[in-house]
């Protein structure tokens, strides 16, 4: 059976190409347009979250000098910053943005297999963002429950935004999950069904492997958040007692009885931990492709990398309770989760070794995407190592809810994926827009971001070891020695510096759109399919009249005996050149 996504184009199909501006760029079913829509929305809402973080950092660093942020604001800003960054920026940009753009192009398909549902996915995502943003403008403001939204405090009087903010937050999350499910069905089905001829699963670029497994994780894990959101909404609106215990609030007994807040925590983290890998696995994949391309070397241990992605994906479902060591759990339960947590370090470390070994004796081109990719290896290793500390129950107990935790997860799940996002944006920018970005601005952006984030998060680990707790509005000198407060101010300066240095990025992206050098089809001399399209940027349908045919894997860089230092996946084997080993030749 031939579907539109993998059929050679006949005359009839041309007629279905979008004609008007509206169908081309607004209600578009083209995966590339949807990807850009996703990306712009996600980056826009991410900017909001970054501004919020700058504001509460000002409060934390200089509690006496600024009166921008009230205690209620502080909790609301922290909550919104966390939720927006994790869900509405990272998840949406990695899967909705890059997943949409790269899957059909790298697999050699014309589009996603369900384009209409793909379009719907974006618009429901946009709706969820709008609902979330609305909570800034209602009375009481957005919820200040902390991004984990733990009951009972999330829906008890006294917490900011308990009237409307939390309801909008939960509704927005439910919408996001619907949007993600529609998108995710597309990504998985497209990878399974719409690969072009010759593109076997074990020839796919690692970017696709990362996005593919991350999407499966998302499809299985987001329902947990949906269950939690629905039940908490019912607790809040109808007065059921799923999670709400019998308690006093503001001196009065509530109508709730005997609900279990711990059940919420289990649900939340059953989603929350895979969520880390929903963000990390696409990053792992894309950074592998960037490293291989700019080091002109094949990725070291391709199959090991694929297996590691799959293994990490599987293991990520059995580690969730390491977020709950302080909830008073059975020590054996904690022991189990500490063990699984440490086991997950094995495939992850394999990946780090393989990235380094890919660089080893490579022909390294220090382009802007490559710089970001190498920066990622540093920040990720750093964040991963502190994760080993926190994975142990006895080490975690004193460090729980301190700045050590903040430092850890920003390093491993904030900075690292964002560095990969920048690497990916710079790497694929020439394909998306047809123009090169400005190299100098890009390098300024990289060095300011890398050094800035290090000076921002390294000191946090030290503050955490001192015992400085998170989620405090103002410490004052009663709680903290002067030296620690000085360090805290320094962190704020670094945070503002990092935020401001993103201006380089935005100027570069917007300026280059018009004034960048024309990029040509394959500026990085890369092997993967998206660089072999007949047009740059690729037109609707991606491949012109004939679909590509794949003859080799994605990493034929610097092959001995070849004229160029790369062989595109579409290149047939040459006469006389001895081809690999003979495995599977008799298929």
């Amino acid at each position: 059976m031939a579907y539109a996504a993998i059929a050679d184009r006949d005359h009839e199909q041309h007629l279905h190409d979008p004609q008007t501006f509206i169908t081309k760029y607004v209600w578009s079913q083209d995966h590339k347009v949807i990807a850009v829509q996703y990306a712009i929305t996600a980056i826009g809402v991410g900017l909001v979250a970054m501004i919020l973080s700058s504001m509460f950092r000002l409060q934390l660093g200089f509690p006496e000098s600024f009166s921008l942020v009230s205690p209620e604001d502080y909790y609301q800003y922290v909550t919104m910053h966390g939720m927006i960054m994790v869900i509405y920026l990272l998840t949406a940009l990695f899967l909705g943005g890059f997943g949409n753009y790269l899957i059909p192009l790298m697999c050699g398909a014309r589009d996603m297999v369900f384009p209409y549902m793909n379009m719907l996915s974006y618009w429901v995502y946009l709706l969820s963002v709008i609902v979330l943003m609305c909570s800034f403008f209602i009375s009481g403001g957005p919820t200040g429950a902390g991004w984990t939204l733990y009951p009972p405090q999330a829906i008890s009087p006294g917490t900011p935004g308990v009237d409307g903010g939390i309801v909008l937050m939960l509704a927005s999350l439910a919408l996001f999950i619907v949007a993600f499910t529609m998108g995710g069905l597309n990504y998985v089905t497209t990878v399974l069904q719409a690969r072009c001829r010759g593109m076997t699963l074990m020839r796919m670029p690692l970017s696709i492997w990362g996005i593919f497994v991350a999407t499966i994780l998302g499809l299985l894990a987001f329902p947990a958040l949906l269950v939690a959101a629905i039940m908490m909404l019912l607790d809040r609106l109808i007065g059921t007692s799923f999670f709400m215990p019998e308690m006093l609030a503001m001196g009065e007994t509530t109508a709730y009885n005997d609900g279990s807040p711990i059940l919420f925590q289990h649900l939340f983290w059953f989603f929350g931990h895979p969520e880390v890998y929903i963000v990390a696995l696409p990053a792992f994949g894309m950074v592998s492709d960037v490293l291989a391309t700019h080091a002109r070397k094949n990725i070291f241990g391709y199959r090991m990398m694929v297996w590691a992605i799959v293994a990490i994906g599987g293991l990520s479902f059995v580690v969730w309770a390491h977020h709950m060591y302080v909830s008073g759990m059975n020590p054996y339960f904690g022991f189990f989760f500490a063990t699984t947590t440490l086991i997950i370090a094995v495939p992850t470390a394999l990946k780090v070794y393989n990235w380094v070994l890919t660089l080893w004796r490579g022909d390294i081109h220090l382009t802007v995407p490559m710089l970001f990719a190498i920066g990622f290896i540093f920040t990720f290793t750093h964040g991963g190592l502190t994760g080993l500390f926190l994975g142990n129950v006895t080490v975690d107990l004193p460090l729980s809810d301190t700045y050590f935790v903040i430092g850890h997860f920003h390093m491993v799940m904030g900075v690292s994926p964002v560095l990969v996002l920048f690497a990916a944006i710079y790497h694929w920018y020439p394909k998306i827009t047809g123009r090169m970005f400005n190299d100098t601005l890009g390098k300024w952006h990289f060095w300011c971001t890398l050094l800035g984030t290090y000076s921002l998060y390294l000191p946090m680990h030290y503050l955490g070891l001192l015992g400085v707790p998170r989620r405090y509005y103002a410490y004052g000198t009663d709680f903290m020695p002067d030296s620690a407060q000085t360090l805290n101010s320094g962190i704020t300066v670094a945070a503002i510096f990092v935020a401001l240095s993103q201006i380089f990025f935005f100027i570069n992206m917007i300026w280059s759109l018009r004034h960048g050098k024309p990029a040509g089809g394959n500026p990085w001399n890369a092997t993967t399919l998206e660089w072999q399209t007949p047009d740059t940027p690729p037109k609707h349908g991606n491949w012109g009249d004939k679909l590509p045919v794949v003859h080799r894997w994605a990493y034929d860089y610097s092959v001995p005996g070849e004229q160029q230092d790369f062989v595109p996946q579409t290149e047939p084997p040459h006469e006389g050149v001895v081809s690999g080993r003979d495995h599977g030749k008799h298929h």
């Binding site: 499910t181 089905t189 069904q193 076997t200 074990m202 039940m231 059921t240 080799r552 599977g584």
Partner: protein
């Protein structure tokens, strides 16, 4: 609880084993030239999409069932006497599922009139099931069991309601399939027939799944 875990494990194992692990053993990157993989390319994408969607639904309901069994252990849990009507409703859903299976068999023989009859029967009995569920809700509210009265009540409305919503979604697709089935058949073109056959197959698969899900939910509701 055990049943749920088994259910999830089984579904997950089947998916992972067939979709992934078998392929991971191949070393196709060592070979140059065009090679093709067997298996998935022959399956219509709609069917794969439905499998994956049912994976998501399985995850959703499995989590609800686990939370249900955990919450039922708390001292404030007051088990409810489930309305006897549920047995009758279950029978209606079984008939609906059987009728859709017959429609599916008819579709593989291209027997259009039989497809039409059985599709209609399946839909009507499904509507009957949904109406029956609403009547069961009325029965419960009539005896003073409202949504927030007790977690047992809340879960009853929540689980039956969500299951009903999934059936409603199925009925939307069913309605589209019905209009396809009633369109005048064009004997020259084989594609509409194949499309109708696929729709009927997917509908029946979805109905069997929702029947199985209902049986599990019903068992859970009866047992606590």
């Amino acid at each position: 609880m055990n049943v749920t875990v088994l259910f999830v494990a089984l579904f997950g194992a089947i998916l992972i084993w067939f979709a992934l692990l078998r392929k991971l053993k191949s070393k196709s990157w060592l070979v140059k030239g065009v090679i093709s993989e067997d298996g998935f390319a022959a399956v219509p994408p709609q069917r794969v999409g439905l499998w994956i969607f049912l994976g998501v639904v399985t995850s959703l309901f499995a989590l609800f069932m686990i939370i249900y069994s955990e919450r039922a252990r708390f001292p404030d849990w007051r088990p409810i006497v489930d309305p006897q009507l549920l047995w009758f409703n279950t029978a209606l859903l079984v008939v609906a599922s059987l009728a859709l299976q017959r429609a599916r068999n008819a579709a593989s023989r291209n027997a259009l009139s039989s497809i039409r009859t059985n599709l209609s029967v399946g839909g009507i009995f499904t509507f009957g099931f949904l109406i029956g569920q609403v009547v069961a809700w009325r029965e419960l509210t009539g005896t003073g069991h409202f949504f927030a009265t007790n977690p047992a009540d809340a879960f009853f409305y929540l689980l039956t309601g969500l299951h009903g919503l999934h059936l409603l979604g199925g009925l939307y697709v069913w309605a589209k399939t019905m209009t396809n089935a009633w369109r005048e058949p064009d004997l020259d073109d084989i594609r509409p027939a194949a499309a109708l056959q696929l729709s009927v197959q997917l509908c029946s698969f979805y109905w069997h799944y929702l029947l199985l899900l209902w049986l599990m939910l019903f068992y859970l509701l009866l047992s606590t």
